[in-house]
Subunit: 417 residues, 2 copies
C-alpha cells in the first residue's frame, strides 16, 4: 500500500496524519452549530450530517448521521462499514466526479472543536503488557514475577464509562483515601501520585449475545476501530483500595481518548503478530490473524507555562502480549454480552527499556528516580498544571496513519460544593 | 404509618406486597402490546403510558412514560418523584374522585409479562457485608480476618451492566478458565461452582458531576429506589482470575434484579442504622440519616421437577456494615460521575448464623458441607435446572412493602455457535 491521492491537497503529505488511506471518524462542532459526525481528510473535516442529508452518502434506509456519535454506523456491521469507506474513498479521491459537491461540505479543522466520537457503552481495561506487569511487580512487590494467571488469561477489569472523555478535556486531580505504610489510619485528600497509562483503546462495533461465547476471529471482526487511550491513575489511592477486588476510585476520575476513531480497515496493512507465547494459550484464545498493529507511540509532558512539551517515552503497540481480539474473546467467554460502543483499554504499553515505559510510575520508578523535563524541572508524578499527551502513528510507505493527540491537563482537586 | 387504603381491594391485605403504601415502579407488557411503564397496586398494574397520554398524569412538559423504562422520571429529580407519588396516592386511594377514569387503566398482573424496569447505565457491586467478608476469608484464606482496608472503605468494583437481567430470565451456566491447585495448566469449560449472592440493588436517580465529590446526605437524596439483586457468581472462574485486578468473567454472565423498583420514599419508615463502627469512618463518609433499611430477605432453591422451593436462608438488609448512601458517596469521592440508572449492588448480605448466610459458598462452606433440600437432594453449588429465588419484604403495622420475587433458572452452558 502506498499513499492514496486526494483532491484535498493537505492530505497528500507523507507526514500528514489524515491522508485518504486513513479516513478517521470523529465528532466536531463549529461556532454556529451543534456537534455532528465528521471524517478527517488532510486539514479538513467532511460534514457527514450534511453529506447524508444531501444524499451524497446514502447507505441505509434510516439515517446514520443525525446523532452526534458514530454508534449508529457501528451497529450496522462490517458490510456497511466497508461500503462507507469505499464511498468516502471515491468521493475524496483525486479525480472524483463529485468533487464540487463535496468541497462545499468541508470544514477547516482549525475552525472545529472536537467531541467524543462515540457514546461509550461500557469500558473495560486490560493488563496485557508484559513489561508493564513485570515493572509493576518489581516496584510494588519487589519481584518482576508475573501473576500466576498472567500467561493464560488476558487479565481485565471493568472500568467506568462515565469518566471517559475526549482529548482536550481538563481532568481534576482526584481526592481519595490513602494510607502510608506506617500510618495507623488512612486519610482523605488529593492524590499525590497521579499518573498516566499509555494505552490503545479498541472500540467494539457489533454485539454478541448474552450467554454466547465468541471466537477470536469473530471478536476481531467485531472491532470497529482504535483510539489512543490515557488511563489516568492515582497510584496512592489504587494502592490502598485495590485488594481484594481491584482498582476502583484510583481509576474512576478520568480516561482520555483521542478524538478520531481510526478504523480497523485503515490499520489492516499494519497488523503485527503477538510475541511468542511463553505458555501455550488455551484453544479458545487461538485466532487466525495477527492481532496487534505496528503503531508508534509517544508520551509527552508539558508543565504549565512551558512553551513546548518534553518527550518522555517512545514505544509501539506491537509490544503487547495479548491482542484486542484475544481480549474481546476472553471478555465474552463466560457469556458476557458485548455491545456497540464498548471500549477496551489495551493495558499499559511498555517496551523493554526505560525509554519505552508507558507510565510515570515506571519512568520514575515509583518516584524514587525522578526524570528531568526540557525546562529543567523534575517530576516523579504529575503536578497541577501539567499537560500529558499521547501520540500515535502507523507509518506506511509514503504515508502516515495518525490518531490525533490524546491530551489532558491536570487541574487542582475539587472539594465539596 | 399504618396501611393506606386503596379502592383496589387486593391492595388492602396486610400481607400483600403491593399496598398503596408501596407503589413500586415496573415495566410490563400484555399479549397485544409493547412494554410500557406500570405501577403495581394489589393484583393490578396501572398503565402509566396511557395514564399520561390521557392527561391523568401530567407532571412535566415533555412525556415521561413514552419509553419502556423509568429513567426519564428518575432524571427529573426528587421534587417530581414526590409529586408523582402524591398524585398516584390520590388517584389510587380509597374515595378517589377519579376512580372510574383510573379503573379502566388497570391491567391484571396475571396477564402481564414483566421487563427490566430501568435502563441500567453502569453496574457496581460492593462488598459491604461483614459476615460475608469474614466467611469468605475463612473459606478461601483460612482466616476470617477482614482485608486491611475493609473497615475504612466501602469496597466496590465495577461490574457489567450488559448482563443485568430482570427476574424470570434464564441464565446460562458460564464457561471459563479454571485451574485446580495441583494442575500445571488451567482448563476451559462450564463452571462447576456456580453460586448466587443475596444482595439489594440501589438505583441512582440523579447525576453527579465529573470531578465533583458528593456528601453522604447528597448521595442519599440521589437514590431513587431499591430492588433485590442476585449477583450470580462462578466461584471457580473467579478464584483463578481475580488476582490482581478483581472479579471479571466469574461475575459477568448474569445479574438478576426483581422487577419492581421500590422507591426510597416507600421505604422511608423502615430506615435502620448501620451497626456500630469498629473503626471510626473518615469524615467524608459521615451522613445524618440512618442509611440501611429493615427488609426481611430470603433465599429459596427449587430443583427441576420439584413442586416447591426449599428455603435456604433468611436474613435482613440491616445486617450490612455500609449503607448504599455511603457506598455512593465513596463511589463519587474521586470525582467519578454517577448517572441516572446506575445500579449499586450492596454486596452479599449474610447474618451471623448459617441460617442467615447469603450465598451457597457460605451455606455449603465451599461445597465441603452440602445442604439438603426438601426433596431430599443435596447441593453444594447450583446444578442445571435449579431455580434460585430471592424474596424481600419490609413489614409495617398491618401492611407489607414487597419487592416481588427475584428468580432465575440455570440452563446448561452454551458452546460456540
Amino acid at each position: 500500500m502506498s499513499l492514496m491521492k486526494s483532491w484535498v491537497a493537505s492530505a497528500n503529505d507523507a507526514a500528514h496524519p489524515f491522508p485518504l488511506n486513513n479516513l478517521p471518524y470523529g465528532v466536531f462542532s463549529t461556532a454556529d452549530g451543534e456537534p455532528r459526525c465528521g471524517v478527517a481528510i488532510g486539514d479538513m473535516i467532511l460534514d457527514m450530517q450534511i453529506a447524508e442529508e444531501s444524499g451524497l452518502i446514502a447507505l441505509t434506509d434510516d439515517p446514520l448521521f443525525d446523532v452526534p456519535f458514530w454508534n449508529a454506523l457501528m451497529e450496522e456491521g462490517p458490510a456497511v462499514w466497508a461500503a462507507l469507506r469505499a464511498r468516502l474513498t471515491a468521493l475524496l479521491g483525486k479525480g472524483a466526479a463529485e468533487q464540487a459537491k463535496v468541497e462545499v461540505l468541508l470544514v477547516p479543522m482549525g475552525d472545529a472543536d472536537l467531541h467524543m466520537p462515540l457514546a461509550v457503552s461500557e469500558y473495560t481495561d486490560f493488563y496485557a503488557g508484559m513489561q508493564h506487569a513485570k515493572n509493576m511487580g518489581a516496584i510494588l512487590r519487589g519481584s518482576p514475577d508475573l501473576p500466576a494467571n498472567w500467561l493464560h488469561i488476558p487479565i481485565g477489569y471493568n472500568g467506568r464509562a462515565s469518566s471517559v472523555v475526549v482529548s482536550g478535556t481538563d481532568i481534576h486531580r482526584p481526592n481519595g483515601q490513602t494510607k502510608a505504610p506506617d500510618a495507623e489510619m488512612p486519610s482523605f485528600g488529593p492524590s499525590k501520585r497521579l499518573d498516566i497509562e499509555l494505552e490503545m483503546g479498541a472500540i467494539v462495533g457489533t454485539c454478541s449475545e448474552l450467554g454466547q461465547p465468541i471466537t477470536v476471529d469473530e471478536a476481531d471482526a467485531m472491532i470497529f476501530g482504535y483510539v489512543l487511550l490515557n488511563d489516568w491513575s492515582a497510584r496512592d489511592i489504587q494502592g490502598w483500595e485495590y485488594q481484594p477486588l481491584g482498582p476502583f476510585q484510583g481509576k474512576a476520575f478520568g480516561t482520555s481518548i483521542s478524538p478520531w476513531i481510526v478504523t480497523s480497515a485503515a490499520l489492516e496493512d499494519f497488523r503485527a503478530p503477538t510475541p511468542p507465547r511463553e505458555k501455550q494459550l488455551l484453544p479458545y484464545l487461538h485466532g487466525s490473524k495477527d492481532g496487534l498493529f505496528d503503531i508508534e507511540l509517544e508520551v509527552l509532558m508539558q508543565p504549565e507555562g512551558a512553551d513546548k512539551a518534553t518527550s518522555l517515552s517512545k514505544t509501539n503497540y506491537s509490544r503487547m502480549y495479548y491482542s484486542a481480539a484475544e481480549q474481546l474473546c476472553h471478555h465474552a467467554s463466560g457469556g458476557c454480552e458485548m455491545n456497540t460502543g464498548d471500549l477496551l483499554g489495551s493495558g499499559t504499553i511498555s517496551g523493554p527499556d526505560r525509554s519505552e515505559f508507558g507510565s510515570l510510575m515506571e519512568l520514575s520508578w515509583a518516584g524514587r528516580e525522578p526524570f528531568t523535563l526540557d525546562t529543567g524541572e523534575t517530576r516523579g508524578f504529575i503536578e497541577d498544571g501539567d499537560t500529558l499527551t499521547l501520540r500515535g502513528n502507523a507509518r506506511g510507505k509514503g504515508f502516515t496513519i495518525g490518531f490525533g493527540d490524546c491530551s489532558g491537563k491536570i487541574l487542582p482537586a475539587k472539594t465539596w460544593g
